[in-house]
Amino acid sequence: MEINRILIANRGEIAVRIARACYEMDITSVAVFSEADRSAKHVRYADEAYEIGPPPSGQSYLVIEKIIEIAVKSNCQAIHPGYGFLAENPLLPEACSKAGLIFIGPSHQAMALLGNKTEARKLMKKAGIPIIPGVMEPLATADEAASAAETIGYPVLLKATAGGGGKGVRVVESPEKLKSAFERAQAEALSAFGNSDIYLEKFLVKPRHIEMQILADEHGNIIHLNERECSVQRRYQKLVEESPSCIVDEDLRRRMGVAAIEAIRVSGYTNAGTVEFLVDSDRKFFFLEVNARLQVEHPVTELITGVDLVKEQIKIASGERLSLKQKDIGINGAAIECRISAEDPETFLPSVGLIRELIEPSGPGIRVESGIAEEYDVSVYYDPLLSKVIAWGKDREEAIARMLRALNEYKIKGVKTTIPFHRRVLVNKAFVSGNYDTGIVSQIEHTETEDHLEIAAIAAAIVAMTDEQVKFTSNAQKTEAWKLSGRIYGGIRSIGW
């Protein structure tokens, strides 16, 4: 069935990314937005846009009935869920098929199967894919978790069965910390996914997090598009991703590819998906989970393979056969992604405020996927991810050099961002060597630099002096009708830190 109108059930950079693919395919894009997002970039970018409710996502972006209603009313044939929000909620594909809409993603059965992490682990174990030792059933109480942890041995990892994106995840080093961690994880899981089920597994020390990107059509064709290395994580939240991985050679890539394709095949999964593995220091790999959606980090794969994954998703959903064969997928150069969040770069505490000045990087090898614009209000309601910078180079060294250049060019004023953190990652010796694991973030220190202390002090003094001399009158404030306050007062009033 030809798709020429798609509702994008998301916001931020991923909604813009999908709308861009629609534009290139001559498909009408239909956005939905909460009251707080009226001026957001995804609303302005889409061909059509409909309000969906109040700012809290529970009353807007997470309300399946409203999304289906708008999709039907606006004559869409399909819904793209992006990532996060409803992307891994099987009720959305189910509602889609009842309403006669195409869900751009797997069937609700495959999603439900893989979304239940304990069921998924059982299935993979049966299929002969290595898994990490752990408990396969949701744990009812903290006591049950404690006895399971005793059997497996500390450290253990608590994870939401409905989870993803690092939410509802806790590592527990010793028995006395289990109870509090279990309760926090439950609460977070409930808040994030509407399901408080928690399971537990052995915590591998210093593993690497490596995942395989998959495309599977509805005619049984499955290919992989190489691995992504996602070991730069904090609280199980990925911060930097790259492809290819420094430790994956031809043989390991082939073997992980076979396992990933098998995992997709046995779960009856279609569309784009990712099979996540942990790889230990002996380069043994263990199945972790399937991310039943497009991932935040998909652009690194796009840059080294030349494949537009969102377009492929749409083509698969419309029933087309994959035009790509496994032999068509090569590796051209190297790509790295940095996730730019509205967070303090030291404490990772969220930062909110109005984006007052925005200069995005560009030039050779740099791609930006952004959900923000000048005058955009970063609010407390949604995920702090503002944008992603992706750098391509003929080799990893060039990709790193270009990423450093891009981070240096990138100016976001009005909120704190993780850009300074990413600079530290990119010059970290372990990262540069390629020999790093999921513990790398804890080793990245904020090194006090004094190189430009004097120039910074001079600039501060100049601004202090100039701003004392500029007096604004109340008349000027009348121009606030144009929302210019951020720009006009930017130098003397700061929001967000």
Binding site: K167, S180, R184, A187, E188, S191, A192, A342, P345, T347, L349, P350, S351, V352, R356, E357, V380, Y381, Y382, D383, P384, L407, N408, K411, K413, P420, R423, E448, T449, E450, D451, H452, L453, E454, I455, A456, A457, I458, A459, A460, A461, I462, V463, A464, M465, T466, E468, R487, I488, Y489, G490, G491, I492, R493, S494, W497
Partner: protein, 169 residues
């Protein structure tokens, strides 16, 4: 005008006077810790300065809230207090024992409070949980002490900088 600029580890005295306003920049005479320099400033936007000093070109971004300045250049970030020299001598020192007000480090929802007035806490104990941007953040005691006051209730929405608790340390 002279300012005392401090990042906690270093304190610099910066004296600035405007020499000339030209069509495309302004020239300032600066004296920093006794060294004199003439610099060219072009203010691209309120928060964005181009500085040329001895031929070196710097893009400097300056944001501030009252006397607290955040200055970025060439990927480095400095947090300064900037005080008019005339004010320095009259300002009194802050005490660092006694009452410690714990403020919300970000806007969010108070999910749960683990302590009440009069409780004895150890440094590192979780005092309350603040949810923001879908993450649950545990707010820990910065030092051991006794809870003097709990300023918020569970379920309350707080802004960045709002008082959460008062601790006697």
């Amino acid at each position: 005008m002279a300012y005392v600029v401090s990042d906690g580890n270093h304190t610099l005295r910066v004296e600035a006077s405007r020499l000339e306003v030209r069509p495309h920049d302004e020239l300032f005479q600066m004296e920093i810790d006794g060294k004199k320099k003439i610099i060219s400033i072009s203010r691209i936007s309120p928060a964005h300065l181009s500085i040329i000093i001895d031929g070196k070109s710097f893009n400097v971004e300056v944001e501030h809230f009252e006397k607290d300045y955040q200055v970025s250049t060439r990927g480095e970030v400095y947090n300064f207090s900037v005080v008019d020299e005339r004010e320095v001598t009259t300002s009194s020192e802050q005490s660092d024992s006694g009452e410690k007000v714990i403020k919300a480090p970000m806007p969010g929802l108070v999910v749960e409070i683990f302590v009440s007035e009069g409780d004895q806490v150890q440094a590192g104990d979780t005092l309350l949980v603040l949810e923001a941007m879908k993450m649950q953040n545990e707010i820990a005691a910065p030092a051991s002490g006794i809870i003097l006051n709990v300023s918020v209730k569970s379920g309350a929405t707080v802004n960045s900088g709002d008082d959460l608790l008062v601790l006697d340390i």
